[in-house]
Every structure is written in structure tokens, then in C-alpha cells.
């Protein structure tokens, strides 16, 4: 199979050759896009909770609150990261079925998924998932409710900081609220392909 690498690059060079000078890369302070007045003096976990509410997400601070929320929603069957389960299991009383391996052939059976988040962004109400910290991409995506366990210390203030911390992971995803669409007549509907409820469990 022939590849057009050389022809494309030579067309690029040809196109750019007549330019007397190339546009310079502007120097700028990333601070320019930071919502500094929003962040000033705020506790990041509190701000995260506030900003998550703004995008119809929810931040909770105790496993008991998560369990109560799931029970109230009738979500009894779920997936949990095997590394998190030992600590969480005591909070899940009878009536819950929790699996620590996500079986894709039974995708419809999982009503919730609990995975570890690599961090969060307070400014935008965002949860950060990375391949190395998320036990299952599908487990965090397919169930109706996604609960991401975020350590306080991993909460970034703003988007700029989170970009700087993308790191070496080959797959990072930022989730800002539940999956949504406004395709049909501009009406907001949540839970299109991903979770209809995006929850952060903020832990110390």
C-alpha cells in the first residue's frame, strides 16, 4: 500500500515556502484562561461539588451516602473496581449484587459502576479517568450510574493544571457531568451512551 507521506509533506513545504515569515508561537500565560475569581480562597473539594452540581453531576463524601443514593434509585446490581471493593463492601448491605469483573456480555445488567478516578478538576466539575487507574473503561461507562472515587489530594484547581498533569498515560478522559445530548429539538436529555448519573465520591 502506498503511503502519501512524502507527497503531502512536499506539498506542505511548497505551500509554506513563499511565506516571508511564519507566524510566531505567541508567548502566553496559561493563567489567562483560568477562572481565578471562582477559585480564589476556595476549598477545592467544596468547589468541585458545587461545579459538579452545575453540570448535573453529584459529589458525595461518604460511602454511606453513595449506598443510600443507589438504594433510592433502585440501582442494586453493579460493578466495582476489585481494588476498591474490600473497603466499600461493608457499606453495601443485603440487596446489592456487586461484581468485581465487568462482563461485557451482560452489559445491560449493571446499573452502577464504581471505579477510581485519577483526579478531578474543581473549576469545571470534572472527573479524570486514566487507563492505569481505571479498572475498566466499560465499567465506568456503560452502567447508568458511575461513581468515581476521588482523593482530595488529587483535585486540581483548574483545567490548565490538569492539562499539565496529563502525564504518560496513553488514555485520559475527563468526564464533566453525565453523558448528554440536545440533538432532538435542542432538548437536554442525559444518559445517551454513557452514565445518566455522574457521581464523585470524595475521600480523604
Amino acid at each position: 500500500m502506498t503511503d502519501d507521506r512524502e507527497s503531502i509533506l512536499s506539498r506542505v513545504r511548497g505551500a509554506l515556502a513563499p511565506l516571508h515569515e511564519r507566524a510566531p508561537l505567541p508567548a502566553y500565560d496559561s493563567e489567562i484562561a483560568v477562572l481565578r475569581s471562582l477559585l480564589a480562597g476556595r476549598d477545592l473539594a467544596e468547589l468541585l461539588a458545587e461545579r459538579m452540581r452545575r453540570v448535573n453531576g453529584l459529589a458525595l463524601t461518604s460511602p454511606a451516602a453513595v449506598v443510600a443514593h443507589l438504594r433510592a434509585g433502585g440501582h442494586r446490581h453493579g460493578y466495582c473496581d476489585p481494588a476498591l471493593w474490600p473497603e466499600l463492601a461493608p457499606h453495601f448491605a443485603d440487596g446489592f449484587t456487586v461484581e468485581t469483573r465487568f462482563d461485557r456480555t451482560r452489559v445491560d445488567e449493571y446499573a452502577f459502576g464504581i471505579t477510581r478516578a485519577a483526579g478531578a478538576i474543581a473549576e469545571s466539575g470534572t472527573i479524570i479517568l486514566k487507563d492505569r487507574t481505571t479498572s475498566s473503561r466499560l465499567g465506568a461507562l456503560a452502567p447508568w450510574v458511575h461513581i468515581a472515587v476521588v482523593s482530595r489530594a488529587d483535585i486540581f484547581g483548574d483545567v490548565t493544571q490538569a492539562v499539565a498533569a496529563l502525564g504518560e498515560d496513553r488514555n485520559v478522559v475527563w468526564c464533566t457531568g453525565p453523558s448528554k445530548t440536545a440533538d432532538v429539538e435542542g432538548i437536554l436529555i442525559e444518559g445517551v451512551h454513557g452514565p445518566g448519573e455522574q457521581i464523585a465520591l470524595i475521600v480523604p
Binding site: 510566531p24 508561537l25 489567562i32 466539575g125 456503560a142 475527563w174 448528554k180 432532538v184 445517551v192
Partner: protein, 467 residues
């Protein structure tokens, strides 16, 4: 056919379609503006900066493309280069055949629409299923998107419900929540059964080889969570120098497109899944697509390559609001499309040379563009090119005679006096098409040619002569 195609199209657009396109573009534009100006002291500064970064990137593609390629390779991705639409489609087909793959799930990508990938794969026996809700509906209806962010902005819920019923997705129900729920259940099994997930890329960082990809529905995330092979189609102009530039651009993209601080899912992908991760592609292919972009880069409208496909220029455009997207006969409608679509046609430019004329040059597009593209200037350049290439333009008054008159003061003054005929002759008897077009819907003011000059002369205190 008389008149301009876009004008005719707009005149025959159903009132209901026009009303819904108008309302939703206006609402999105107003939300976008409120958000940006509430949050930032000077959003225009951000737009200018983002424009400079992208301009720098496209003017240094010769450096950045090989750099991104090397990083992607180092991360375990395979990189392919496609000069044309056909080459890009052929790359995809070959990758699939090499794996014995027959089923693809597609996230929304403008490039795949531009190269008509789904049709191509269909002809070669491969199912390429659209997963964005709007695009899915377009696909089952054999329709075309009419907006780059809101593909079915031209459809109402009743039409969608009818299509779903026809496709066996449940009894007629036009409740948007029900429609969405049904699509959710239908599509998730398609993801899980697919061999390949195809996405676009909103940005490609040369520094890290990361592609940044945004969706609200999570369909691209599902495509790369459920399948074993990820193919990325990326226009070569999507490159940005560094990861930190992604921060600024993402901040602007969500706000400009849908008035969100960030789009719900923002993915950064620089290679196949981590070995510790059970889900997702073990193979990643990135196809760099040219398909006319290097020609655009060589021309005087290269600024359009900064575009980040946010749709803000469509939402604010008074022409788009009246005519809707199909009027532009192209994957890229609205102001950005009026520039990009004819350019991407290369030597077939004349086929869409009418698009740049469908503008009052009001400049609203420039004012909202997150990368500050001077769209009106580019429209003007393309008008000049159309004239140079002698592309016929119905209804455009000839300017040669006027220019002759306007460069000869004596003749000009005589014409000012002669124009008084307009006040006595019925305009319908004057065979000037522009006059006819004007007076078809508007009164013409009374002709007072030369009156000002007489007034000035008659004053006691005559104006001093110019030096």
C-alpha cells in the same frame, strides 16, 4: 433558473424548519456569549491568542506533522498519510481487512463525512454505524447533517419518531427521552459487537502525539472502550504545538460550541490501551488526511485551516439562520463552509463559488470565532477569485461600467443629474435588473443627485479648496 441557489433554497424552506433552526441557533449563540463574557474579562483576547497559536501551527506543519507522527509511533500507534479522500478511505478499508474486521462503530467526525467514508465502506461490505444520536438518525434517514455540531437541527421529534418506528426501534413515540433511551439500548450492543471504533480528533498535539477528542454523548468513549482497534481520522490542520495549548483551545471550544465550560467527555489518546487496562483497543491507527488542505495552505485563505469546528459562526449567522445547513450543499455549512467547501474542491471551485456570495458580510462570524478567523475577508477573497475565473453569478450587477463612471468626475456629476429620470419614470420600465430586484420589495428614495453640491456652493461661506 433565476437567482442564487441559496436564496431560492431559503425561500422554499418550510416555515417550521426555519423557526426551529432560528430559535436554537439564536439560543445557543446567546448562551455562548453570556458565558464567555461572564467568565472572562476579555474573551476577545483569548480568541485572538487561540487564533495566533493555530496560525503558527498551520504555518509550521512541516515541523509539527513529522513530530506528531514520531510521538505517536513511539507510543505504539501506527500512522498513515492520505493525500485524498479515496486514499483515506482505502487506508481504513485495508486496516479493517488486515484484521478480518467487518463491523465499525463511528463517532462523529467531520472528516469521515467529508471523505464519504460510510458509503465507501458500505460498498465494500463493511457496516459503518454512526453512533452520535443525531448522526445515527441522519444515517437511518439517508439524510445529510445540516449543522456541524447539531446535525439534525433541521428535524423535529415527530420525524425522528417516525424513522425509529420504521427501523423497528419501537412503536411510535416522539418523547425525546424515549427516543434517546431507545438509541442507547440499540447502540450499546452495536458497540460491543463491532471490531473497530473510528473517531476523529479535535486536536493533535505535536509535543505528545495526543489526540484530543470531545463529545457530549460519550459515543467516542464507548467506541474506544468496546472495540479492539481504534482508527483516527485527523485533518492535518488539527495540529497544535504543545499540550498546554490544548488547555486554552478546549476552554474555548466547549464554550463556543455549546456554552459549556468543557464538553462532557474530553479524551486524550496517544496510543493503544495500557497493558493493565482490560477494555479498549490494542491497536491504534492514525490517518493524517490532506484532501485539499495543502492547497488551502498554499492559497490566501489559509486562515480557515485554524477552524476548530465549533459551529459558533453558524449559530450567529443571519444567513444560516434563515437558510439552514442544506442550503450550502456541503458537509461544512454556514460561514466556515462558505469558505472551506469551495476551497476543498480545488479545481472544481466554480461548483460552489456561489457560497461566498451568500453573505451580507456583516462580520458576526469573525466576532464569535474562537480562533478569530477573519471570515468576511476570506469570503471577499473568494468572490474575487470567482470573478477572476469568470464564474457566472446570477443576479450580480456588472461593476465595470460603474467603475468607469466612478473614476471620471465629470461623467459622475452628469450621471447625478441624469439620475433624476428615476423620479419620473416608473421603475418597472427601467430595464436594470438590480433596480428591479431592489424595488420588488422596497421603495426607492427620491433621487436628489447633485443637490448637496448645489447647497454647498450656494452657502455664503464656501468650503476652502482641498490642498
Amino acid at each position: 433558473m433565476k437567482g442564487q441557489a441559496i436564496d431560492r433554497f431559503a425561500a422554499t424552506l418550510p416555515a417550521e424548519t426555519r423557526a426551529s433552526v432560528y430559535q436554537s441557533t439564536k439560543a445557543t449563540h446567546e448562551k455562548r456569549t453570556r458565558l464567555l463574557f461572564d467568565q472572562f474579562a476579555d474573551p476577545d483576547r483569548l480568541r485572538a491568542l487561540a487564533g495566533e497559536i493555530k496560525q503558527h501551527a498551520i504555518e509550521n506543519l512541516d515541523t509539527y506533522l513529522p513530530q506528531a507522527e514520531a510521538r505517536l509511533r513511539a507510543n505504539g500507534a501506527q500512522v498513515h498519510w492520505a493525500g485524498t479522500a479515496e486514499a483515506a478511505c482505502a487506508h481504513v478499508l485495508r486496516i479493517m481487512r488486515d484484521r478480518g474486521a467487518t463491523k465499525m462503530v463511528k463517532a462523529k467526525t467531520m472528516v469521515s463525512e467529508e471523505i464519504e467514508l460510510a458509503d465507501y465502506l458500505g460498498r465494500h461490505g463493511i457496516e459503518a454505524l454512526e453512533t452520535d444520536l443525531g448522526e445515527f438518525i441522519i444515517q437511518i434517514d439517508h439524510d445529510h447533517p445540516s449543522h456541524i455540531v447539531r446535525p439534525i437541527i433541521h428535524k423535529n421529534r415527530r420525524e425522528i419518531a417516525t424513522s425509529f418506528e420504521r427501523e423497528g426501534l419501537g412503536a411510535y413515540n416522539d418523547d425525546p427521552a424515549t427516543i434517546t433511551r431507545r438509541a442507547r439500548h440499540h447502540l450499546r450492543h452495536k458497540y460491543l459487537a463491532a471490531d473497530v471504533g473510528l473517531t476523529g480528533a479535535n486536536f493533535l498535539s505535536a509535543e505528545s502525539g495526543r489526540i484530543a477528542l470531545v463529545t457530549n454523548e460519550g459515543n467516542s468513549r464507548f467506541s474506544v472502550a468496546a472495540t479492539r482497534c481504534h482508527i483516527v481520522l485527523v485533518g492535518i490542520e488539527k495540529i497544535v504545538p504543545r499540550d498546554r495549548d490544548l488547555g486554552l483551545l478546549l476552554n474555548l471550544l466547549g464554550r463556543s460550541a455549546t456554552a459549556q465550560d468543557l464538553t462532557v467527555y474530553t479524551e486524550f489518546i496517544s496510543g493503544p490501551r495500557d497493558p493493565a487496562q482490560p477494555d479498549g483497543p490494542e491497536e491504534m491507527h492514525v490517518i493524517f488526511v490532506d484532501n485539499g488542505r495543502t492547497e488551502v495552505l498554499a492559497g490566501e485563505c489559509r486562515e480557515i485551516l485554524r477552524c476548530i469546528r465549533c459551529g459558533a459562526c453558524l449559530n450567529v449567522c443571519p444567513i444560516y439562520r434563515q437558510a439552514s445547513g442544506h442550503a450550502y450543499r456541503s458537509v461544512y455549512p454556514g460561514p466556515v463552509g462558505a469558505v472551506l467547501s469551495p476551497l476543498l474542491l480545488k479545481e472544481n471551485f466554480p461548483q460552489k463559488a456561489d457560497l461566498p456570495k451568500a453573505s451580507s458580510l456583516c462580520g458576526a462570524c469573525h466576532e464569535v470565532c474562537p480562533v478569530n478567523i477573519p471570515i468576511p475577508d476570506l469570503l471577499l477573497r473568494l468572490r474575487a477569485r470567482a470573478k477572476e475565473e469568470n464564474v457566472p453569478s446570477p443576479g450580480t450587477p456588472p461593476m465595470g461600467p460603474w467603475a468607469l463612471l466612478a473614476s471620471q468626475p465629470t461623467a459622475w456629476r452628469a450621471a447625478l443629474v441624469a439620475g433624476r429620470a428615476l423620479n419620473v419614470l416608473p421603475t418597472r420600465l427601467i430595464p436594470v435588473p438590480a433596480l428591479q430586484a431592489w424595488t420588488a420589495s422596497r421603495e426607492l428614495p427620491g433621487w436628489r443627485g447633485g443637490e448637496f453640491r448645489r447647497w454647498l456652493k450656494a452657502r455664503r461661506r464656501p468650503a476652502p479648496p482641498a490642498r
